[in-house]
C-alpha cells in the first residue's frame, strides 16, 4: 500500500506494472485516473492549481487506503495525487487496487476515490474565462461517500 503526493506527472502503465510485479496471487487490477477538463459548470477552464495540506494529505490518504484494506480482501493499492499547476487533459490522480477477484478491487477503488474526494485535504483553484475561482465542493461527492457508511 502506498500513497504519493507530487507535482510530477505519472506513467499509468509503469505504475500498474510495478504494483502487480512479482505477485502471483493478483488476478484483478482496477484503476481510476482523474483528469483536468477544459470546462466546469459551463465555464471554460484554461488551467488549474491544486493546493494541499502537506503532512495531513499523506496521512488522510494512508488512512483511506488502510480502511479499504480492512473492508475488502485486497492485496495492494496505490494512490498518486498531483499538486501545483495543471492544464486541461493533464492527469490529476491515480487510484489502483490489486486483489484476487474483480468485485473486491472494483469496490475498493471506488471507495478510495469517494473518500478521497471528501476527506483528503486538496483544493482546486480554476482559471476560467471569467477569472480565477475556487472550486466548490459538490453535494453529489458527499452522497457518494455516504453510501459506504452504515
Amino acid at each position: 500500500m502506498a500513497v504519493r503526493v507530487q507535482e510530477a506527472d505519472f506513467d499509468v502503465g509503469a505504475e500498474l506494472a510495478a504494483l502487480r510485479q512479482g505477485n502471483r496471487q493478483i488476478g484483478a487490477l482496477a484503476s481510476f485516473v482523474g483528469l483536468v477538463r477544459d470546462v466546469n459548470d459551463g465555464v471554460g477552464v484554461s488551467e488549474m492549481t491544486l493546493e494541499h495540506y502537506p503532512g495531513m494529505t499523506e496521512k488522510a490518504l494512508a488512512t483511506i487506503v488502510s480502511e479499504a484494506g480492512q473492508r475488502w480482501p485486497i492485496l495492494d493499492a496505490l494512490v498518486i495525487h498531483r499538486v501545483g499547476r495543471l492544464l486541461p487533459t493533464d492527469q490529476i490522480v491515480l487510484v489502483a487496487v490489486a486483489g484476487s477477484h474483480r468485485g473486491d478491487v472494483f469496490a475498493a477503488c471506488q471507495f478510495i476515490m469517494d473518500y478521497l474526494k471528501t476527506r483528503a485535504p486538496f483544493w482546486k483553484r480554476e482559471m476560467t474565462s471569467a477569472g480565477a475561482r475556487w472550486v466548490d465542493a459538490r453535494a453529489a461527492d458527499d452522497q457518494a461517500a455516504e453510501r459506504w457508511q452504515g
Binding site: M56, A60, V93, F122, W123, W134, D136
Partner: protein, 83 residues
C-alpha cells in the same frame, strides 16, 4: 503555543496562511478558538458566518468540541475538492 493554518479560499479571505498563538485563556476546544479568532473583527468575523467551515487538529479532521492543548496544530479550510 498553537500553530494555526489556513488553506485555499479561506487563506485568501483572511489574508494569511498561518500564525502562532498562545492558547488563549478559557479556550478549551475548536469552537472556543473560532469564537476567539472571530472576535478580532473585520474579515475574522467570517469564521463564525461561513457555511461549511472545516477544521483539523494535529492533522486529523476535528469537530467543534475537539479539545485543544498547547502545542497543537489547528487548521481551518473550506470543504475539500481534490480528485
Amino acid at each position: 503555543m498553537l500553530k494555526i493554518l489556513y488553506f485555499a479560499g479561506l487563506r485568501e479571505t483572511l489574508g494569511q496562511g498561518s500564525e502562532q498563538l498562545e492558547l488563549p485563556g478559557g479556550v478549551v476546544d475548536v469552537a472556543g478558538l473560532i469564537a476567539f479568532l472571530a472576535a478580532r473583527g473585520g474579515q475574522w468575523a467570517r469564521l463564525t458566518t461561513l457555511r461549511n467551515l472545516r477544521y483539523a487538529v494535529n492533522q486529523e479532521m476535528a469537530r467543534p468540541d475537539s479539545t485543544l492543548r498547547a502545542g497543537d496544530e489547528v487548521a481551518f479550510f473550506p470543504p475539500v475538492t481534490g480528485g
